[in-house]
């Protein structure tokens, strides 16, 4: 039987992120959602109210008041899951949330499994599969860019681009099939060089979409940014300054189990994932000593490197040497001179000529905005907010990858001058993989296309 039973039972779960916040929303969905709410809500009886209305009142377990809340009422099918849905907005305390959920369970609800609300929405025909996946992304979107990528996917921008690719491929495939099944007929066939041009163009578009996956992924997960520098350069202080809040960060102690720590923050609507590593020198020494080191791998994955040094103690030649090494790495980087408040002026002036440098005081929160601006500039934030179709979903990415490889086979076949039946096989593969995203291609589509365009038949 199913992992997910249908609307037989009513499910409940916290709909907002777990943790402490100003408010939390608990969602009930299913046949009994209104009656369960009615039993614990003191105020207007939810069962007698209009759909899409809000009601203030209290949640009570017997006589005990748990919290003051606002109820949102959504009668199916005009709700997220297309079932009856009640959303309880309560104060964001973990204790209150736990109490209300437990009360719901006592009154007959069942705890929702991860993703079950979305699953019900999908099962009840609210979304297609690609949209359901986008909803999951939307829920997990922490930044503006991730949000808009997920939204555009949900609205079908992605499906549209894939859909038009598919149409072109079907036209291509029809020409080939025409030549195979109707060779005896008096019809003109497609030229191979035209076919090649078409496949090459499709290949480019697919490659572009595949490339967007890197952007898309970055948008979803945050731009990986490595903060490198000697242990005393002030990496933790910098991170705290960027995060602009006092947060205890366990500093990186060589020899302990943790090689690096991660934290996320949003700059200018784009999310960054900061990775603190051991110092570059150390890193490079390690590389020299052991060949390949895990830290180097981290550096390799980074989209941006912040090289932090201490203006008050590090020598100019030492710093320039590091900058030189970073230039050779070929990654965007910013050399951040810390402790400008106590640095010798001539040193700062000597380095300022170089475009890679920013000077701050992490401890005194000096020039932090300059650094943020520089970060935006370095990663070309505008790339991440364009209206271009982006691939953010791993399943789609894989399907596109296979489409690309099938198209590559078509091109190879053209190079080797194989006959059309073999070309057709690889084209069908490409269509099949595109179909995994948008909808299956059937041979009826091909035949329909042939019959509408060509005069066939003796």
């Amino acid at each position: 039987m199913s992992k997910y039973s249908t609307s037989e039972d009513t499910i409940v779960a916290l709909a907002t992120a777990p943790g402490v916040g100003a408010i939390a929303v608990i969602r009930l969905s299913g046949k009994e959602a209104f009656s369960i709410a009615s039993k614990m809500f003191k105020g207007k009886d939810p069962q007698k109210q209009e759909s899409h209305t809000l009601h203030f009142g209290t949640i009570r377990d017997g006589e005990r008041i748990i919290d003051e809340v606002v109820l949102g009422l959504f009668k199916g099918p005009k709700s997220f899951t297309k079932e009856d849905v009640v959303e309880i907005s309560c104060h964001g305390s973990q204790y209150i949330v736990k109490e209300i959920i437990q009360l719901s369970l006592k009154l007959g609800a069942r705890l929702a499994k991860p993703g079950e609300f979305t699953m019900r929405a999908f099962m009840n025909g609210q979304f297609d599969l690609a949209q359901a996946e986008a909803v999951a992304d939307l829920i997990n979107a922490d930044s503006e860019a991730a949000h808009s990528a997920a939204l555009s996917q949900m609205r079908g921008g992605f499906s549209q681009e894939i859909g038009s690719l598919r149409t072109e491929l079907i036209n291509f495939a029809s020409l080939i099939e025409l030549e195979l099944d109707f060779s005896e007929e008096d019809v003109e066939f497609a030229q191979r060089d035209e076919l090649r041009a078409l496949v090459e163009r499709l290949y480019k578009v697919i490659s572009k979409l595949l490339k967007s996956f890197d952007y898309g992924n970055v948008i979803k997960k945050g731009i990986p940014t490595v903060i490198a520098g000697k242990p005393n350069a002030g990496k933790s202080t910098l991170l705290n300054a960027l995060l602009n809040e006092e947060k205890a960060i366990v500093s990186d102690i060589p020899g302990t189990t943790r090689d690096f720590i991660e934290d996320e923050m949003v700059i200018d609507g784009v999310s960054f994932r900061f990775i603190d590593t051991a110092g570059i020198r150390e890193t490079i020494d390690k590389i020299e000593a052991m060949g390949v080191a895990k830290t180097h791998e981290k550096m390799g994955q980074a989209s941006l490197i912040l090289y932090l040094f201490d203006l008050s103690t590090d020598s100019i030649s030492e710093v320039l040497q590091e900058v030189n090494r970073l230039e050779n790495l070929g990654k965007p980087f910013i050399a951040v001179g810390n402790k400008i408040d106590i640095a010798p002026v001539d040193k700062v002036e000597a380095l300022r000529k170089n475009d890679h440098f920013v000077f701050i005081s992490a401890g005194e929160l000096e020039n932090i905005d300059d650094l943020k601006e520089k970060i935006s500039e370095k990663v070309h934030l505008e790339n991440f907010k364009t209206g271009d179709t982006m691939v953010t979903n791993a399943r789609h990415y894989e399907a596109l990858l296979r489409t690309q490889s099938a198209l590559q086979d078509v091109l190879r076949g053209l190079d080797n001058q194989v006959t059309n039946d073999f070309l057709a096989m690889d084209i069908r593969q490409a269509l099949h993989h595109l179909g995994e995203i948008t909808g299956e291609i059937t041979t009826d589509d091909l035949l329909g296309n042939i019959f509408s365009k060509f005069c066939i038949g003796k």
Binding site: Y4, F122, L129, L180, S183, N420, D421
Partner: protein
């Protein structure tokens, strides 16, 4: 007057003949009931068998032990392997046949089997008890009992012939239509529909000027359909001729459009898009100033000629006037006019994958009654229905071919899952694994199966086994035997093929696009002597397997994947109403077809990929 039969086959066309032959060969007592014993196995349309995708089907029928291949071979007057410029999966055998010989060979093949009885009369109804067929009723009021009945009524059920504004009942030109069966089946709950097909005029070959046409000869080295040595390739052949219509012909035809049953709405049946009438062609593709006409002889000796490409239901005077304007037809004498025919069919979604109806037990449908068109399509359904009728009454397993085993499997799977909105014809593009479903390997694919069914003779299996063993040895040797640059470079250069730098196996050389196994044979005296031991068929088979092994393997992997999805079973009494997310059309179709697996469900027309993902999620796959 009659014994109780195991199987009664109603209709003596391509489907009926195969059904009767196969059931009888497997041991059933069979009665073939036909309206006219003189028209058994008529080629109602053009005098040819096979062609692209259809030739593959004939080879499959032959490999399984059916008769269509042998009958075609014995009556052929020309053989061509079509599509030779393409890959081996596209090579398609086709014969032109002597219409009268073809019918005679079929009738004699049936007569030779003592298990086949004949009865000439119109069958007007079925005897059905408790949802199970137990016999037939005839126009004389006779009742003949049978354990199973196969209906192969072709275009005869309420057949209506149109020529211009004239219309009259008939199953074929000059033959009566059949009444009663449709009405009874509808009263039993079957859903019937109307289809339409057409045929061109036949003319007198003595009145044509062939010097104005392009001759199309048979192959220089003609082949044949049957894998058995019971038949031999032709030593002499007859040619076909190609000519074209012109704007003048089109203008003449247009004069009759107001009297065309196609355009004035008198014909309601669904016609095929790929076999349009000439009036349809010039109407839909007005920008084309000519259409191809194949002039096909109807036999060795007869002067009758078939005007392929000129199917029409325009008034006979218009037909004649237009024919005369065709190059080479200036003095044409017409024997019979072309006509359109409408007939009843039953959506094949009402069938199980054995071709047994879902509504009535032990009742089987095959051929045009299922909405198909074509001799080959009909014959293979007849074969499958005959086999399954025999198996069912003997409590044996249903016989089903999968989509990666045979075109026959593709055809039946398409029919029962998708139904059809026009006469269904096989195309290679309908098969997702056509590189595997080649005409050259039909025996390797199917003869063992045919033998185990009790249909193909033991001798056939021995031949296939020998072919397999020889092939294995040959492939092994081609991989092992190597030639040196010194031995072959000079000859390779002559063949415009790159010289070797080091030793290479013969199979590596065969893989080169510009070389063939025959050229590799000519490389050295040693290779020549060695490969001389094998016949052409084995050599060709080895060449195909070596040259295309990359694509063959790829398709095998794809077929495996498909099998995977076929294993996801759907419970038989599954309640689709429970899943509100299903599209309305998808739900309706799923309820109607009740597919056994997710794979089958995915091929039902109207069931969307989204419906399939909902099913898969629900079933926890």
């Amino acid at each position: 007057m009659f014994q109780e039969y195991d199987v009664i086959v109603v209709g003596g066309g391509h489907a009926g003949c195969e059904a009767a032959y196969c059931a009888a060969k497997m041991g059933s007592k069979v009665l073939l009931a036909t309206m006219n014993m003189n028209t058994i196995a008529q080629m109602s349309c053009n005098p040819a068998m096979g062609g692209v995708a259809k030739g593959q089907i004939v080879r499959e029928i032959d490999a399984l032990g059916g008769m269509s291949g042998i009958v075609s071979d014995k009556s052929m007057i020309q053989f061509r392997m079509l599509n030779m410029s393409k890959g081996p999966a596209m090579w398609s055998p086709r014969t032109q046949n002597d219409r009268m010989r073809f019918a005679e060979e079929w009738r004699l093949a049936l007569e030779r089997n003592p298990n086949v009885d004949f009865w000439q009369e119109m069958v007007t109804g079925l005897v059905v008890k408790n949802n199970k067929v137990t016999g037939i009723q005839t126009s004389l009021g006779l009742e003949i009992g049978a354990k199973a009945v196969v209906l192969t009524n072709g275009t005869f059920l309420n057949g209506l012939i149109h020529i211009g504004e004239k219309q009259f009942g008939g199953g074929r030109a000059g033959e009566r239509s059949a009444k009663g069966i449709t009405e009874q089946l509808v009263s039993l709950g079957f859903e019937s529909g109307r289809m339409k097909t057409g045929t061109p005029p036949r003319v007198d070959g003595r009145s044509l000027d062939y010097s104005k046409m392009t001759e199309q000869e048979g192959d220089v080295n003609p082949g044949k359909f049957s894998f058995s040595d019971e038949t031999k390739p032709l030593t002499q052949q007859r040619s076909c001729y190609i000519t074209y219509t012109s704007e003048e012909v089109h203008d003449t035809l247009r004069k009759g459009f107001d009297r065309s049953p196609m355009f004035n709405g008198r014909i309601q049946g669904l016609g095929p898009r790929y076999c349009p009438s000439i009036e349809d062609k010039i109407n839909r593709f007005a920008e084309r100033n000519r259409h191809q006409i194949f002039v096909e002889p109807e036999g060795w000796d007869t002067v009758e000629v078939y005007v392929n490409g000129f199917s029409t239901s325009l008034p006979e005077d218009i037909q004649y006037e237009a024919l005369k304007k065709i190059e080479g037809f200036e003095n044409v004498k017409m024997f019979r006019p072309g006509y359109a025919i409408e007939y009843d069919f039953f959506q094949p979604t009402q069938l199980k994958n054995t071709l047994e109806t879902k509504g009535v037990d032990n009742l089987y449908f095959a051929g045009q009654i299922n909405g198909t068109t074509g001799y080959e399509e009909a014959a293979c359904q007849g074969l499958m229905a005959g086999i399954n009728a025999h198996n069912k009454i003997n409590d044996k397993e249903p016989f089903i071919l999968s989509r990666d085993e045979a075109y026959i499997g593709v055809l039946i799977d398409d029919l029962i899952n998708k139904g059809t909105e026009e006469p269904y014809r096989m195309f290679t593009s309908r098969a997702e694994f056509r590189i595997l479903l080649r005409q050259d390997n039909a025996d390797l694919r199917l003869t063992d199966i045919g033998y185990n069914l009790g249909l193909a003779d033991e001798k056939r299996v021995e031949e296939v086994n020998k072919k397999r063993t020889d092939l294995k040895h040959l492939l092994n040797d081609l991989n092992q035997k190597k030639v040196t640059p010194k031995e072959v470079n000079e000859v390779l250069t002559d063949m415009n093929s790159a010289s070797l730098k080091e030793k290479q196996s013969l199979s590596q050389l065969i893989k080169r696009p510009e070389l063939s196994i025959k050229k590799v044979k000519e490389l050295t005296p040693v290779t020549n002597e060695y490969l001389d031991k094998y016949n052409d068929i084995i050599l060709e088979q080895a060449e195909i397997q070596i040259k295309y092994d990359h694509y063959i393997n790829k398709e095998k992997q794809m077929a495996e994947k498909m099998k995977n999805i076929e294993t996801h079973r759907i419970p038989s009494a599954f309640d689709y109403d429970k899943l509100s997310a299903l599209s309305a059309e998808g739900r309706e179709k799923l309820k109607k077809i009740s597919p056994e697996t997710i794979g089958q469900a995915s091929r039902i027309s109207g069931v969307s990929p989204s419906d399939i993902s909902i099913l898969m999620v629900y079933l926890g796959k």
